[in-house]
Amino acid sequence: MSAPAVRLPVSRGLSRWLGEHLSLLAGAGILAFFILLALAAPLVAPYDPVAQMADVRLQPPSLAHPFGTDNFGRDVLSRVIWGTRIDLQIAFIGVAFPFVIGTLLGTVAGFFGGIVDTVFMRVIDIILAFPFLVLMLSIIAILGPGLASFYIAMALVGWVSYARLVRAQILVLKNSDYAVAAVSLGFSRARIMFRHLLPNAIAGSLVFVMSDAVLVLLNGAAISYLGLGVQPPTAEWGIMVAEGQPFVTTAWWITLFPGLSIVFLAFAFSLLGDALGDLLGVHE
């Protein structure tokens, strides 16, 4: 008789925990699915993503080709699966460089203050005056099309948001008791900055990483769509949408599925961002 009485609160606690962390679980679940798909692409994809099969051009979805085929007779499902690799890479690398550079510069600027800080803040103001995508496109125009140019442009432009976020935190934290204590103990500046201040200042940036990943993914796909990022015949979701555009009225499946993949991956990042914000107590 006592067993249900014990089990009930536990299961209620579990369902409550699940309910409260629904966005965390859903976001992590979708992201894990895409990561597994990317890793297992050669095993899961039914066809070669760039193999052209002349006899099956523009086939609607069927059992043999669940997402249909494109105008070269390439299997859209296989291309979407292989595209996962490139688009995840775009989101991860496109966020990683700006995150590291921006956090380092923002920490140093906030900690030292004075002329260093003023110069950094002015540079940030100027870069932020340019619409993000316009500055990205202008830099890619100079470097030439391609993923490498995209990553370089991201590193040059994207760091400003992270620098601003972490600098604002460091400015507050460097006057806290534990920072003053660390100074009076004679710790080196580097140790105070990176061992004491940075771990306490980073929460907001970690949440921002997720909403930034959405923007980077959308911008990366948009730049490939415009023909300035990933080059054909590589399977990438943005360029797949561009390739399907001439057939959009007759063969909708070429554009629908890569676009939906972007929507779901972006949704996963947004959900994780919301969940992380709640967990770390950070709100924009």
């Binding site: 002015r122 005056a129 340019f130 619409p131 890619i140 948009a222 399907g244 009225t249 919301d274």
Partner: protein
């Protein structure tokens, strides 16, 4: 009147930013590897034309003097000629401003028309089904790639229903608005997702504010409390949000203009990149940056006007 003092001194504060914008746009073209004169004129340039460009921009002079010439030319309203269109870049851009401006304005109006009812319903049903639905839809809406959403709208509204044109721009104002319907809906669907998230939070905050409670205590019906007190107080953060997102909005318009072949600045930029028309790239980047600065300045003025408590 003294609340508006910043209108006089803010442009002075903005001078360093404008200086920075001019330096970045100047550097953009100078960073291209190779002889700038040859780059600007294309591969088939004659030696006399190259010599003329070298003299016009002082390409044999030190870099700081070249920058001075660049600013001097700008002062005369000249940035250099487009290789493709053979006219001065600033004159070329001037002909392309209207479609972009119309696209941005219609998108903002449309997105507010979508976001207002969505956030009002969510805020008044907080924690219940309609609220959850709005939150999921707006979280998902942020991740819609504009170039793909545009094509999906084309399939539905142009191919299935045959309601709106797929590309181009008109001559008269009704024609233009008709052509802008799908492009602005594309941007508005994404933008309204961003606005809804912030507007919902602002409305929930004002629904619980003392102002709203006092109004209810005076016996004011909930509907009037909402229209007269909650809504106006929630709109101020939304104006700032729109200003902060103007760069993102311009980026979206660049992509959407390319999808719908709208003859605006965004389409000009993308075509210029492909034809290596670097002067045009430089000019569009500079004009967009100045527009961003201007919009933020205007948003400050609007904020001060609608909210008497704000001091800048």
């Amino acid at each position: 009147m003294h609340r508006y003092k910043f209108v006089l001194y803010r442009p002075l504060q903005l001078l360093p930013v404008l200086f920075g914008i001019s330096v970045i746009t100047f550097v953009l073209v100078r960073l291209i590897p190779g002889d700038p004169a040859r780059v600007l004129l294309g591969t088939r340039a004659t030696p006399t034309a190259i010599a003329r460009i070298r003299e016009q921009y002082g390409l044999d002079e030190p870099i700081w003097l070249q920058y001075f010439y660049f600013i001097e030319n700008l002062g005369r309203g000249e940035m250099g000629k487009s290789i493709l269109y053979k006219i001065d870049v600033l004159k070329l851009i001037a002909t392309r401003i209207e479609p972009t401006l119309m696209l941005v304005l219609t998108s903002v109006v449309l997105s507010i028309l979508i976001a207002l009812p969505m956030s009002a319903i969510a805020a008044r049903c907080q924690g219940r089904l309609p609220d959850h639905a709005v939150r999921i839809v707006s979280t998902m809406g942020i991740g819609f790639p504009p170039f793909w959403l545009a094509l999906m709208l084309i399939i539905f509204f142009s191919v299935q229903l045959d309601l709106f044109p797929v590309s181009g721009y008109g001559e008269t104002i009704p024609e233009k608005l008709w052509h802008l319907a799908l492009p602005s809906l594309t941007i508005a669907l994404s933008l309204s997702a961003v606005i809804t998230r912030s507007l919902r939070a602002a409305m929930i905050h004002s629904l619980r504010s003392d102002v709203a409670t006092a109004a209810r205590a005076r016996g004011m019906p909930e509907g009037i409390v909402f229209w007269r007190h909650v809504l106006p107080n929630s709109l101020v953060p939304t104006i700032n949000l729109l200003a902060v997102n103007i760069g993102w909005l311009i980026g979206g318009s660049v992509v959407v203009e390319s999808v719908f072949a709208l003859p605006g600045m965004g389409q000009l930029l993308v075509r210029a990149i492909f034809s290596r028309d670097y002067m045009v790239v430089q000019g569009v980047a500079m004009v967009f940056a100045c527009a961003t600065v201007l919009v933020n300045f205007l948003a400050d003025i609007i904020t001060v006007t609608v909210d008497p408590r704000v001091k800048l």
